[in-house]
């Protein structure tokens, strides 16, 4: 295997951003440049495309842009990723959610759905699944199709099961799946009251009010300015005292927003909206 050394200059990257925005309406201008450069260079090297050919395909080749979007946005996810995070949600957030009659949850940037189902399993084990509704959103229609299916390879499930052990939840991950040959299908009970739909954090607005929003390992692809804009969207989408969960290496940096949230767990980046 060869690594892809970057094949695109900062000027070319800006040109590409302008082109994509003009032709397809997706705005990558406030994405982190280092990661975007790496992703675009990777596509060029995998497809053996020059910069000119890449631009040409983005404009002219049918279906290419969907593929480009899929490659450029990172869709790596796991069930029970960062097991300590789920342990903290179980201990610090679930007791709070239990007091509500109805609970609405939003997983932003859900990719192929693993995190939505991890939450569903956690809520089921806590005995409150029946009153919860989990929305999973992503900008990418292809990964959402995978999410709706809820079928994962047995190889993946084996590594997810290892995460599950570290969460401290009872039972075992495979209790929640039907395994046939080399694939595992999530139980239909866990798919109930989940909804996967397209939402672009960069351009779309508030669509509901939530008691819990998770957006983990999505902010790392955005620059500080865009992170703040989306924090504002999350703040406005949270019910008073609702919880916001970021990835374990992400943090709320802006002073203005630090005042609007109470830190519930600093290591796992769980915050609570200060009520108004």
């Amino acid at each position: 295997m060869k690594v892809q050394l970057s094949g695109i200059t900062p000027e070319e990257l800006n040109e590409l951003i302008t082109l994509v925005k003009g032709v397809h309406g997706f705005d990558f201008s406030d994405y982190g440049k280092a990661s975007l450069t790496r992703r675009v260079s990777r596509i060029m090297s995998l497809k053996k495309l020059s910069f000119y050919e890449l631009k040409h395909r983005i404009v002219n080749a049918e279906g290419f842009f969907q593929h480009f979007l899929e490659e450029v946005t990172v869709n790596v996810t796991e069930m029970f990723r960062d097991p300590n995070f789920y342990r903290s949600v179980n201990e610090l957030v679930v007791p709070y959610l239990s007091t509500y009659q109805h609970v609405k949850i939003w997983t932003a940037g859900c990719s192929s759905g693993e995190e939505v189902y991890s939450l569903a399993i956690l809520l089921r084990e806590a005995g409150i699944k029946h009153k919860c509704f989990v929305y999973g959103t992503d900008i990418n229609t292809e990964v959402l199709k995978e999410a709706r299916k809820g079928i994962y390879s047995f190889r993946k499930i084996k590594s997810y099961a290892e995460n599950y052990i570290y969460t401290g939840l009872k039972g075992s991950l495979t209790d929640h799946f039907t395994i046939m040959y080399d694939a595992a299908t999530i139980h239909s009970e866990l798919k109930q009251d989940t909804l996967f739909s397209v939402h672009n954090l960069v351009s779309d607005g508030v669509f509901n009010e939530f008691q819990l929003i998770t957006c983990r390992n999505v902010f790392i692809y955005f620059d500080n300015k865009l992170q703040e804009r989306i924090l504002d969207l999350f703040y406005n989408s949270l019910a008073p005292h609702g919880f916001l969960c970021l990835g374990s290496k992400e943090t709320i940096r802006s002073e203005a927003f630090r005042k609007k949230f109470k830190v519930i767990n600093s290591k796992e980046n769980i915050y609570q909206k200060i009520g108004i």
Partner: protein, 195 residues
Amino acid sequence: MAFDDNILQRWQQAEVLLIGGSAGSFKLFFNIVKHVDVDINKVIILVMHRKKNFFSEIEKLFSEHSRIYIREITDKDALKHNTIFIAPANYHTLIEKEGYFSLDVSDPVWYSKPSIDVTFDSAAEVFNERCVAILLSGANQDGAEGLLKLRQAGSLTIAQDPSEAEMAEMPRSAIELGAAELVLTTEDILKLIRT
């Protein structure tokens, strides 16, 4: 060995010290951290291969034995002189030219996340001749191509002498690729760092 003036000058002028290592490199990382001066006047970035879900206490252990500030990188942390930054497990670490880190969770490179190649490659875009990079012991080829890119960008690139490395493959791959301007013994690596 005595370093020639050109090497010494480049070392002293470098603003960034990048060190990558995998299997068999822990002891040398530890020694480097222990011996770094408080006023080294560089940003130090360590990329070590680490296992997923292995909640290591590296940051704590290193802090207890170092005189300078040690921090595991959080997304968008600003690069700071006289600080040791450690790449976190389960993420790649990238460097933005505005002077901060960006993390990335895309697929492993050489079965590794963090990958040394990813950080070295990204650093090559930003630092040019303002950087010294060292590749230590390891059992795969991660870091070799990234080191080459750094060398081509004008950085001072160093591989640990493979005959001294517990796992020779990583530094040897870099040498074979022509990525290492210098091949140094463990003792000389520590000597250079204390210069």
